[in-house]
């Protein structure tokens, strides 16, 4: 699952090698637009809940919850999902990846769940996330919001809300860097 390893980027990047494709203002505008689209599509906040996929998706989900609050004056429930146990490559790995905790402090049954992730790539993470969600209950609907869709899907998965479509080659890496992880907000492409 290349999508997962490419998103976790604890190391500081050499800014020479990166091509910035979204600045912090672009990210802010995209988040505001997605918040409006979520409200428009679902006609408000009734039964709405956001679940961020660890780790980048969680930060973005919190930002969306704040924006929805700014627009509607309501704080929608938010959860955090770790998809590691649902990955399709666990049996192939020599060492198992470090687990983080899933925390969904509300019943998802009957809710409209917006899954939030930073980069949509192969679609395998989202497949795992949907399996993980359904083990927690039976949502009325699952929608998907991503900041970046970089193409190269390996599964028939499509985002409901997209911040920006960024054409990439398979070899390139897309990193969403966020203030919450101690970076300046930006989306970059790294050539490898």
């Amino acid at each position: 699952m290349p999508e997962i390893s490419m998103k976790s980027s604890p190391q500081q990047h050499d800014r020479q090698q990166e091509k910035v494709v979204m600045e912090s203002t672009d990210i802010a505008r995209a988040m505001t637009r997605i918040a409006h689209e979520i409200l428009e599509r679902n006609k408000g906040v009734k039964d709405l809940a956001l679940i961020g996929i660890r780790t980048g998706g969680v930060h973005l989900a919190h930002r969306l919850v704040r924006r929805i609050h700014d627009i509607e004056g309501v704080t929608v429930p938010i959860g955090e999902l770790d998809i590691t146990l649902y990955r399709d490559d666990l049996a192939l790995r020599k060492e198992q990846p470090v687990l983080r905790k899933t925390s969904v402090p509300f019943d998802i049954s009957g809710k409209i769940i917006v899954l939030v992730d930073d980069v949509l790539f192969t679609g395998r993470t989202i497949r795992a996330a949907m399996d993980g969600l359904i083990d927690l209950g039976r949502p009325a609907e699952i929608q998907l919001a991503v900041l970046v869709d970089r193409g190269h899907r390996q599964l028939p998965i499509k985002a409901t809300y997209v911040g920006k479509n960024i054409p990439t080659s398979r070899e390139e890496q897309v990193h969403v860097l966020l203030e919450e992880s101690g970076e300046d907000d930006r989306v970059v492409i790294l050539k490898s």
Partner: protein, 306 residues
């Protein structure tokens, strides 16, 4: 950080970081065990064999439940129902199990070192579920998890381990792990039950329970192995209960809010008074509940492809 080990045989060689990784991984599984659907697909297609040469209900059930909640296939292999009675050696039994593509073998055996012998002889991962008087690493890890869950930090924590320390694999694993994490470990019991050289493992030796309990935050009781009573380690059970039994008055000597632990099965009225076992400070049933989450974490970490 990941666990780069084929087997889990003993806590003695584990670093504090590895122990912490196991406890943090268990934390994720604690959330899973609290769900309505207590099952994740992480070990789909893997086979876990419980090879138990000693009777055990708690540990075997706990491992079985842990493996099933990870979606592994589980086989329980007990000697009375097997070819062991026909004279097969441990290694031959294990090689047969391995030939059936077992990924992880969980071994309980009455001889110290049995798990290590097995681990050297087979490619499958081996988890020691208690070998003689040597170690019982998963029990100590669930004890540590339970302490940690009570938001007690290990650094400077004072723990009294009370009872038959000599014959306790639980005590040995706990001494190794607790001292590594920075806790102060006191062992208490009659001199016949305190092993020579236990101070070299970093434990302080006490023979008087009241003295040992003063100021501790954790009281870890060991089961008095009544089946060993014939070996004359103490004169009578009544005398033992009077000198080393944990009563509610004795709990008061410990720090307020101290927790009482026991690996089970408990002998009510012998090493622990019924009112203490059932009191709010007792975390005995938390230990059992946490055992499943901790073993899920260990099975998950050991399940990397060979």
């Amino acid at each position: 950080m990941s666990l780069k080990r084929k087997d889990l045989l003993s806590l003695a060689p584990l670093s504090a970081e590895e122990i912490t990784l196991i406890l943090e991984t268990a934390d994720s599984f604690k959330e899973v065990t609290g769900r309505e659907i207590k099952k994740v697909p992480a070990l789909r297609g893997r086979t876990v064999v419980n090879l138990f040469f000693e009777p055990s209900t708690r540990t075997r059930t706990s491992f079985e439940l842990a493996a099933k909640r990870l979606s592994a296939d589980v086989i329980n292999f007990s000697p009375s129902a097997s070819s062991v009675v026909k004279g097969e050696t441990l290694l031959d039994t294990a090689r047969n199990i391995e030939a059936m593509q077992a990924d992880i073998i969980v071994l309980r055996h009455s001889s110290a070192g049995a798990a290590e012998t097995l681990a050297r002889g087979v490619k499958s991962s081996v988890i020691n579920a208690g070998d003689g008087w040597h170690e019982h690493p998963t029990q100590a890890l669930l004890d540590l998890y339970t302490i940690r869950e009570r938001r007690l930090s290990f650094e400077g924590l004072r723990v009294a381990i009370v009872g038959d320390v000599s014959h306790s694999r639980v005590a040995r694993s706990n001494i190794h792990a607790l001292t590594k994490l920075g806790a102060e470990v006191r062992v208490v019991g009659p001199p016949t039950m305190i092993p020579m050289g236990v101070d070299k493992l970093g434990a302080k030796v006490f023979y008087n329970l009241d003295e040992a309990l003063r100021g501790v935050q954790v009281i870890m009781m060991l089961r008095l192995q009544l089946e060993r009573q014939g070996r004359a380690l103490f004169p009578t059970i009544r005398e033992y209960a009077r000198l080393y039994g944990l009563t509610s008055d004795r709990v008061k000597l410990a720090e307020p809010g101290a927790i009482v632990m026991h690996p089970g099965p408990i002998n009510r009225g012998v090493e622990i008074a019924p009112e203490v076992a059932d009191s709010l400070s007792s975390v005995i049933l938390d230990q059992v509940a946490n055992g499943v989450a901790v073993r899920m974490g260990i099975l998950y970490l050991m399940s990397g492809a060979n």
